[in-house]
């Protein structure tokens, strides 16, 4: 992915990008940016500068307009991350139901700290703010899937499952990164 010419969506994703652009009025294609960046991240693994430049070309906007957005929103990674991001909610309602214990358990089990990636490049652990699942706490999100009512056994199972299985990132699109 170092060579610029390798950065190219396959046909079906170009079609998806076209569908998204068509949802906005003529000349307002920039509105598609946030969603197209989700697709780019799911497909390329993370938003490298060449990937962002490619998205800028696709949408006929300036690269800086893409960088600004990519660095503002917390879901975007502008640096490489693991194939599976385990995003554990750390906010109040989850905290009082044991989120901190879950985070330490994952840290110990995978030998990484919050924000780090395992040396085999499979898992990244990230604590995040409220994901809208407070009543089913503690919880984590992996790709687009919510895993709720976490226990240590459940975490063990999840890690085993994702070790061998791709994670669905954008509407079922698998991370190839």
């Amino acid at each position: 992915m170092t060579e610029n010419q390798e950065i190219q969506f396959p046909e079906h994703l170009l079609k998806e990008v076209g569908r998204i652009i068509s949802q906005f009025p003529e000349g307002k294609q920039k509105s598609a940016l946030i969603r197209v960046l989700h697709i780019a991240q799911a497909h390329f693994g993370y938003l490298s500068t060449p990937v962002m430049d490619y998205v800028a070309r696709l949408l006929h906007i300036l690269p800086i307009e893409v960088y600004e957005v990519a660095t503002f929103y917390s879901m975007y990674d502008t640096q490489p991350v693991g194939r599976v991001k385990l995003e554990v909610c750390r906010t109040g309602p989850c905290m009082i139901e044991g989120a901190e214990t879950i985070v330490s358990y994952i840290e110990k089990k995978l030998g990484i700290k919050d924000g780090e990636t395992t040396s085999d490049g499979i898992f990244t652990l990230k604590t995040v703010e409220c994901l809208g699942a407070c009543g089913y706490a503690p919880m984590l999100q992996a790709g687009e899937k919510f895993h709720e009512h976490l226990t240590e056994e459940k975490v063990d199972q999840l890690i085993e499952m994702y070790r061998n299985k791709p994670v669905a990132n954008y509407m079922g699109l698998e991370n190839n990164g």
């Binding site: 920039k30 957005v69 929103y73 917390s74 905290m95 995040v128 407070c134 899937k145």
Partner: protein
């Protein structure tokens, strides 16, 4: 038995599909509105219903709709706010996941009322799988003639699309949402101009919460008066409450506004009481931004009256002894929870989510987080408590958008009601790391002095 207007069919097998939704009375409101009502009639029914915005601020929806500018030849837009990121709130996800067609039906009727031909649902990026559910449902609605050109032969056209965010609480603020939908960073705009005059692409725009828009369906079906007959005073109709924390049955409940807080927490129909037989210590009744209430002000007001789940009753006593209904994110804390820790946790959230445009918010939230961290980890001084009070006061009211206030209020309320617990953290730095303070002593509130 409490009436359910939104979640009545939520448990019906397959209700997320068009056929099942239609068989259960779905899309009747669209039929009724397009066949027998003018857009003004729909606005009138919504006004009569007394419906207030369910996103947090509680502004009357009918009045908001009547403010939309209608310059000749300029398209208008209705945007549904499905950003749902206020800690403690998860009702919109539940509604969209279970009954996506209810939101779509509400969007059609509301767009018709406002004269919009192109509307969007802005959904937080973390809800990508819900976006997928919505898009499937929207495709079904197009296929059955409820969206697109000349809906059901009425001559009314509407396109509806869903667009995601990518992780930013601030995008729930309506002008930040508009910026985000334009493909930009979510920096709130200065008002005026208000979105009703210049919103999305500088066109007149209305932003409404998911639940607000869904509520328009029963209002059109049964009439505004019938909706207004439910509830107490200016709190009409039903409300979705997201219940979380140390209770037996966390989850999403549809209540008739006016049910007592006591019943909501302790009856088996709702939260089912405290988990593990613990005592209740505190409650944040409307999402992380609203003032926290100590145990003795939850089910009763300072005046000793029964507290109700209404906008007015939850706010009774002002900031001195009341709180707010807010988004309906109802968080319950038992006696084992630490208020300082929870306040620090929320401050970290607001610091993390500040867009950074205004210095009182950007600097103040970071400073509060630091001071609270110090107190929680036993390194705090007595002056820190007053310092916190000063910082929150300097944020409140001095920022572009209400996130600043939202960050300040929880800190102010925590100090107001739990000061002795903060002092204990300073005086007993070691013990505060091992045990918890427990319940606070009751105070009396002779006058309302916020």
């Amino acid at each position: 038995m409490a009436r359910k207007l939104l979640l009545e069919h939520a448990q019906v097998e397959g209700i997320h599909t068009y056929d099942v939704y239609r068989k259960n009375g779905g899309y009747k409101a669209v039929e009724k509105a397009l066949k027998s009502m003018s857009p003004e009639d729909v606005v009138e029914e919504v006004k009569k219903s007394g419906l207030r915005g369910r996103g947090g601020a509680g502004f009357p929806t009918g009045m908001k709709w009547s403010f939309i500018a209608k310059p000749e030849g300029v398209p208008r837009h209705l945007l549904c706010n499905a950003d749902e990121s206020e800690p403690g709130t998860f009702k919109d996800r539940y509604l969209m996941e279970k009954i996506p067609h209810l939101l779509i039906e509400g969007m059609i009727v509301s767009s018709y009322a406002l004269g919009c031909n192109s509307s969007y649902i802005y959904i937080r990026g973390e809800y990508m799988y819900v976006l997928q559910i919505l898009e499937r449902a929207i495709a079904e609605a197009y296929a059955n003639g409820w969206l697109g050109k000349n809906i059901q032969g009425s001559g009314y056209d509407l396109d509806l699309h869903v667009s995601p965010g990518a992780g930013a609480y601030i995008c729930g603020e309506e002008t930040a949402l508009i910026e985000s939908l334009e493909g930009k960073r979510g920096n709130p705009r200065m008002k005026p101009p208000f979105p009703a005059v210049q919103g999305l692409w500088a066109r007149p725009t209305v932003v409404n919460n998911v639940e607000t828009i869904a509520a328009v369906v029963p209002i059109v079906n049964e009439g505004g008066d019938s909706y207004a007959a439910i509830g107490v005073g200016k709190s009409t109709g039903t409300k979705l409450i997201s219940a979380s924390g140390n209770i037996n049955k966390p989850g999403v409940y549809e209540i008739e506004l006016g049910v007592s807080v006591e019943e909501f927490i302790y009856s088996d129909q709702y939260c089912g009481g405290m988990k593990n037989g613990k005592r209740i210590k505190a409650c944040v009744p409307g999402g992380s931004s609203v003032p926290i209430l100590p145990h003795y002000l939850i089910t009763k007001t300072a005046a000793g009256e029964s507290r109700l789940m209404t906008y007015e009753s939850l706010a009774d006593g002002g900031f001195a002894s009341g709180s707010m209904l807010g988004s309906g994110g109802f968080i319950v804390y038992d006696e084992d929870q630490c208020i300082v820790r929870n306040t620090w946790n929320f401050s970290r959230f607001y610091h993390h989510e500040s867009c950074g445009q205004c210095s009182p918010c950007r600097e103040g939230t970071g400073w509060m987080e630091k001071v609270l961290h110090r107190l929680e980890y036993g390194h705090g001084k007595m002056e820190d408590i007053d310092l916190l009070w000063d910082i929150q006061r300097q944020i409140e009211g001095n920022t572009i958008c209400p996130l600043g206030d939202a960050a300040a209020w929880p800190v102010a309320a925590a100090i107001r009601h739990f000061r002795e617990e903060f002092e204990w953290h300073v005086n007993e730095p070691k013990r505060c790391l091992e045990t918890n303070y427990g319940l606070v002593k009751e105070k009396t509130f002779e006058s309302v002095n916020a």
